[in-house]
């Protein structure tokens, strides 16, 4: 038997390849969405040869409209900002803010050079002691200069995660307890109602006093300022997780609960095998909210207490009142916004990981 068309097989293979390609793109789409890149799907599809018109409307909606809105914002900002005269000069437009971003980067480089010089000096000093036969005096000293902008960012991120972690450790078990037992819920509810709306600025003095009184060691694991910021974050960010967890646990399918009764599960197995998996989507929603709240709170706390981080950077610049201060503060505002967005994406990605497989 001979084939009439030698191209027949090739066509089929191409069709098959295309189908595979599309399945892959569709699979990747979930991840694009998680990363906030959902516009990449229609672009790839169009590139792979899908109906261009259908893809174009998607691309328009997902890529071009957001880009246009950003451009419109920049345009509006650029034209309106110079019209507002403050005592420090006109409000900076996008160009000045970009310039300050560049200058902050250069400043970071200059500080890195300074750091290297400092380390060389410490090295030399240590060598001197070794030569003088006093090796016990040799010491590694951390750089004591002002932190760079990037270091401030990193400090803030570390602090928010630490505070958030403590909040999670406290809120999830309490939430489970409140969800499982109406008595526990009745006990916790008034406290939640009262403490949830308290501003970080009110917590801060209390936390500062208590940490100073309790954490007296000077060479412990953490700096006091770090603990103070982190605990303030904890106190403010614990509520969304707590409320969502208890809600998630309370609304487990009654059938599942009955099954657990039939199987005579003990409490531990019941929580790990049944309660946690079914409450997970809501717990994650709570965690996402908590991290968002924590990030906002942290900046305020750092500003007020002058604890290291982005908040201190903003406050310092406000106090400096130099001609570049306003633009630098705006750089910080964008940094804070973008990092907040990224943190949310990270939590969303985690949530998707845990809840892809089931849609409970």
């Amino acid at each position: 038997m001979t084939t009439v068309d030698p191209e027949f097989n090739a066509d089929a293979a191409r069709e098959e390849r295309r189908a595979r390609l599309f399945t892959r793109i569709n699979a990747a789409d979930k991840w694009f969405q998680v990363l906030g890149l959902s516009w990449a799907t229609p672009v790839l599809k169009a590139a792979a040869g899908d109906n261009p018109r259908a893809q174009m409307t998607e691309i328009w909606r997902l890529l071009i409209v957001p880009l246009l809105s950003i451009c419109a914002f920049l345009l509006l900002w650029g034209t309106l900002a110079p019209k507002v005269q403050t005592s420090l000069g006109a409000v900076p437009g996008p160009a000045q803010v970009w310039e300050e971003m560049v200058s902050l980067n250069q400043d970071a480089k200059a500080k890195a050079a300074k750091r290297a010089k400092f380390e060389a000096m410490v090295e030399k000093r240590n060598q001197k002691f070794i030569d003088a036969g006093q090796p016990e005096k040799v010491k590694e000293v951390a750089f004591t200069g002002a932190p760079t902008y990037y270091q401030q960012i990193w400090t803030s991120i570390k602090t928010v995660f630490f505070g958030f972690l403590i909040a999670t450790v406290i809120a999830v078990p309490l939430g489970i307890a409140a969800g499982l037992s109406p008595t526990a819920n009745a006990a916790l509810n008034p406290l939640i109602q009262i403490f949830k709306p308290v501003s970080p600025l009110a917590w801060l003095p209390i936390v500062t006093m208590i940490v100073s009184a309790v954490y007296v060691t000077n060479d412990g694991w953490f700096a006091k300022s770090f603990l103070i910021s982190a605990i303030t974050v904890t106190l403010c960010s614990l509520w969304p997780t707590l409320i969502n967890t208890s809600l998630g646990v309370a609304s487990i399918d009654k059938d599942l609960v009955n099954v657990s009764k039939v199987l005579k599960m003990n409490t531990y197995t019941k929580i790990t095998k049944l309660v946690l998996p079914s409450a997970l989507p809501l717990i994650f929603t709570g965690l996402r909210l908590s991290l968002g709240v924590g990030w906002m709170v942290l900046i305020a706390a750092e500003m007020l207490a002058q604890n290291p981080g982005l908040g201190k950077f903003v406050w310092d610049e406000f106090q400096n009142g130099s001609s570049s201060s306003l633009a630098k503060i705006m750089v910080a505002v964008f940094t804070i916004g973008i990092i907040g967005f990224l943190l949310d994406r990270v939590m969303y990605a985690l949530q998707s990981l845990f809840t892809f497989t089931n849609n409970r």
Binding site: S87, L88, D107, M121, R125, K128, F129, A132, K139, V141, A142, T144, G145, A146, T208, S212, V216, N218, K224, S225, L304, A305, Q306, W315, D316, E317, F318, Q319, N320, G321, S322, S323, S325, K328
Partner: protein, 454 residues
């Protein structure tokens, strides 16, 4: 003290001159400061490597306000700080937060100014005599402000002004200026710590860097603050400095370097090393008639220190002061860091602060002269200062002639012509001095409710 001397003898004997470093008990330190040009000795000691020369690894941290800074020193987050001279004294006598804080080093003389908003300046101007060239004649007395305050009072509007902290030099200087011009700045009492009892002018607290913003917002009509925040008002075009503290009281004491007494006791050599580095920085700042000042201004204008624009800081730091835009005058001693024994912690300086606390009721009851002397001696530590100076002289880093080795800690009395109201000041007789001031508590007087009694 004995321990300190012993430690000293041991170290100088053991260590070779090439490593003439003290045996430091603690070498990683964090110091706090407020964004003001008179923190310069700290920045210079860091940037010029004087701390490192002593084997000290110092981190400098800007603080949000004077209260945060004081708490930092008390709870040990900060090992030391650039402080208002009144802070160690008030903390030690238990006014406000109680803690024993000492100072081995006085940071500078002068450096403050009193600024009023543009509108107030316009209203004051007709009351101020002018010079031949038409510019207002300085120093300007608060008498020129009195009719303005009177007008506000008759309209039922409170006349608000700002200072930086209840026990700050600025509070006392503003009060001094107002009282010298016949305006009452109000008393403190143990029950009422607002300091506005019986006041013509209401003073409230605003942290230094926020002064211009608060003035601009119209919350206050004027303020007393350190540099660069008076010159900032001129640059921003929102206010006019009417008088500098140099004109108020020639070469008056300003900030001090404050340490927890416990710290100084536990780490005597570290304290000594810090003092050495600071003395060197102060010498550098005044060397060759302020030749290094432009470089110092560049350091201060960095974002991590004061951070204001170079021109604003240079205006006062390089021996000039701009009153109104364009009216720039020579004030070579506007900021003194070393000349005239500026860094020596004189007991008489401490006593002046204490007399002002008594004058305005922060010290509620009368105290004998001996009490003033005792408190001054428990806070100001010239003995540590002289130890440090001696070491510097021995190392060839300082001149023997620059230090008052034989002083008993009391400056010669300030003559009447050096002070705006013509009242001489002698730190040895605080009660007699209080008697000679027209407005303020004296003798056995007390504030009961809102009345002066006794």
């Amino acid at each position: 003290m004995k321990k300190l001397l012993l430690g000293l003898a041991a170290t100088t004997a053991l260590v070779s001159p090439a490593l003439a470093e003290l045996e430091l008990e603690k070498d990683e330190l964090t110091f706090g400061f407020i964004k003001l040009t008179d923190m310069a000795p700290l920045a210079v000691a860091y940037e010029n490597g004087y701390f490192l020369d002593e084997g000290l690894f110092v981190t400098l941290e800007a603080q949000a306000n004077w209260k945060v800074l004081l708490d930092g020193v008390i709870d040990g987050q900060l090992d030391g700080a650039h402080m208002l001279a009144g802070q160690p004294l008030a903390a030690t006598i238990g006014y406000g937060t109680e803690a024993h804080i000492i100072t081995p080093f006085s940071m500078d003389l002068n450096g403050n100014g009193i600024t009023v908003s543009n509108e107030i300046w316009e209203e004051m101007k007709p009351n101020i005599p002018v010079m031949d060239d038409g510019r207002p004649q300085h120093p300007i007395s608060a008498e020129a402000l009195a009719p303005v305050v009177e007008k506000y009072k008759s309209e039922g509007k409170p006349f608000n002004m700002g200072m930086v902290f209840p026990v700050s030099t600025h509070n006392y200087e503003l009060r001094y200026w107002l009282a010298a011009g016949g305006l009452h700045p109000g008393y403190y009492s143990p029950e009422n710590v607002t300091g506005q009892i019986g006041a013509d002018v209401f003073l409230s607290v605003t942290p230094p860097p926020q002064m211009p913003a608060t003035l601009e917002a119209g919350t206050i009509y004027g303020y007393c603050v350190g540099e660069p925040w008076n010159q900032q008002a001129v640059f921003k075009g929102i206010g006019v400095p009417v008088i500098t503290d140099y004109e108020l009281w020639k070469n008056n004491p300003e900030k001090v370097f404050g340490l927890n007494a416990e710290f100084a006791e536990q780490y005597p050599n570290t304290t000594l090393a810090v003092t050495k580095a600071l003395i060197r920085a102060a010498m550098w700042l005044d060397e060759n008639e302020n030749a290094n000042r432009p470089e110092a201004v560049e350091i201060l204008s960095r974002a991590e220190y004061v951070g204001a624009d170079y021109e604003v800081i240079a205006n006062s730091m390089t021996g000039t002061f701009e009153y109104e835009k364009g009216d720039k005058r020579e004030v070579p001693d506007f900021n003194v860091f070393f000349r005239y024994n500026a860094t020596y912690p004189f007991y008489s300086d401490a006593v002046w602060y204490l007399t002002q606390m008594r004058r305005w009721g922060q010290i509620a009851e009368s105290k004998p002269d001996s009490w003033y002397d005792e408190v001054a001696k428990s806070v100001y530590k010239p003995e540590i200062y002289l130890e440090a100076a001696r070491l510097l002289v021995d190392e060839g880093l300082a001149n023997e002639a620059d230090f008052p080795w034989d002083s008993d800690g009391y400056k010669a009395p300030t003559p009447a012509e050096d002070i705006i109201d013509g009242v001489a000041y002698d730190g040895r007789t605080p009660n007699a001095y209080l008697e000679s001031l027209s407005i303020g508590l004296k003798g056995e007087q007390k504030i009961i409710g809102s009345d002066v009694q006794g």
